[in-house]
């Protein structure tokens, strides 16, 4: 098996390496991907049609809004799948969350540092979400950071402490809320005569003109993405670390 696997890998690798001969060189500004209509339009027209300086966020939340919405749904489904596969309800499941005790084994230095760091991480994560259409950032990045802050709390102070702030029910509701915000914003566009996720049609209810409406709508859908990603990241960690029992974990 190992031998045949090695042969297959060598054959595929050689074919790919031969194919790289036809590929554009490193950093070539005239490569087909950069010369194409789409990428040029994104670079030159993003600021005209959305007034957003960050092209990556504009493409993510506006031009490719459908794609991002269903990527968020994929994350949601993966999280729900993990809960469905792993979650078990033992005898101590209810007791653990009532009176969370700080973990006996954890060090005071670790706990104090964590108490200092977690608010800062969360603040920065909120900045990354809120400022995502002006500087590097957005819902996915900020959401992962927010989720990481809860994971840090669970690692340093024990899972019950983190669970008091982000319980299982709360996590699932938060994840669903994120998708509802995203899809609901798309549906709201329908009521104002536009297409699904056609943010420009929302300009009667949002401050500014049509372009600013798209800019504001990007913030709204990024917040939705951040909700889902935060909740699912923490659900993945807490279920994997405790084998679905959600008691004292690692």
């Amino acid at each position: 098996m190992k031998f045949f696997g090695f042969i297959a890998v060598v054959v595929v690798g050689t074919l790919l390496l031969v194919a790289t001969g036809d590929f554009p060189g490193w950093g070539n500004p005239h490569s087909p991907a950069s010369e194409g209509q789409v990428s040029g339009f994104y670079i030159e027209q993003t600021v005209n049609v959305t007034k957003v300086p960050n092209m990556v966020t504009a493409v993510l939340a506006d031009f490719r809004g459908y794609d991002t919405m269903f990527e968020t749904v994929v994350i949601f489904i993966a999280g729900i799948g993990i809960i469905a596969v792993l979650r078990t309800f033992g005898d101590t499941a209810g007791k653990a969350s009532d009176y969370p005790e700080p973990d006996e084994g954890s060090d005071i230095i670790v706990r104090s540092t964590c108490h200092l760091m977690v608010p800062l991480i969360q603040l920065f994560a909120l900045y990354v979400v809120a400022h995502g259409h002006h500087s590097p950032g957005g819902g996915f990045q900020g959401g992962v950071m927010l989720g990481a802050s809860y994971i840090l709390l669970a690692l340093a102070c024990g899972l019950p402490v983190a669970k008091r702030r982000m319980g299982e029910r709360k996590a699932i509701v938060l994840a669903a809320t994120g998708i509802i915000i995203y899809a609901g914003w798309g549906v709201a566009c329908l009521f104002f005569g536009g297409n699904f996720l056609d943010y420009a049609s929302l300009d009667p209810v949002l401050p500014g003109d049509k372009e600013m409406a798209r800019s504001h709508s990007m913030l709204v859908v990024e917040i939705g993405v951040a909700f889902t990603v935060t909740a699912i990241m923490f659900a993945i960690y807490s279920n994997l670390a405790t084998r679905g029992r959600l008691e004292k974990g690692l």
Binding site: A8, F23, A33, M55, V56, E71, F140
Partner: protein, 147 residues
């Protein structure tokens, strides 16, 4: 012979080193997925494979002497506040291609969640079979096998 090898490296590997790296990484991942017996090692191979694809996409978006695809504060001000046409203020070659970045941004997060799901399923497999080795699981699944 040495000259030939040096010429080959200079002509084929140096200008395309990003593709060589992604092909090698991808093949490491593929090899692990095909031949490894342990399910976790297969998942590690899958993650390496995924990383290779991400590197490939990001390296496609690179342009020489270009910056990140975010307008500078001054440029943004000139276009939005002063109403200058964008064609006068920015050029296409100034910014890296944003599209690969967008695609990989979502792919990374989705990759993490699907990897989490795969790990969850392997935990359940370990719970019911007591092992993560593929051949031992197949032994137990076979009718007439022990258990």
């Amino acid at each position: 012979m040495e000259l030939l090898a040096a010429g080959f490296i200079e002509d084929n590997i140096v200008p395309k080193f990003n593709y060589w790296i992604y092909v090698i990484l991808m093949m490491i991942g593929l090899y692990a997925m095909i031949t490894k017996n342990n399910l976790i090692k297969k998942l590690i191979g899958m993650a390496v494979f995924q990383t290779a694809i991400i590197l490939f996409y990001v390296s496609i978006g690179v342009k020489e002497e270009s910056g990140i695809p975010i307008l500078g504060h001054g440029q943004h001000h000139e276009i939005v506040e002063e109403g200058k046409p964008s064609g006068e203020v920015i050029t296409k070659d100034e910014f890296a291609n944003p599209l690969p970045h967008v695609l990989m941004l979502t792919a990374i997060v989705v990759g993490v969640s699907t990897l989490g799901l795969a790990l969850a399923i392997s935990q359940r497999i370990h719970g019911s079979f007591g092992t993560l080795e593929e051949d031992e699981i197949l032994d137990q699944l076979r009718p007439g096998g022990h258990d």
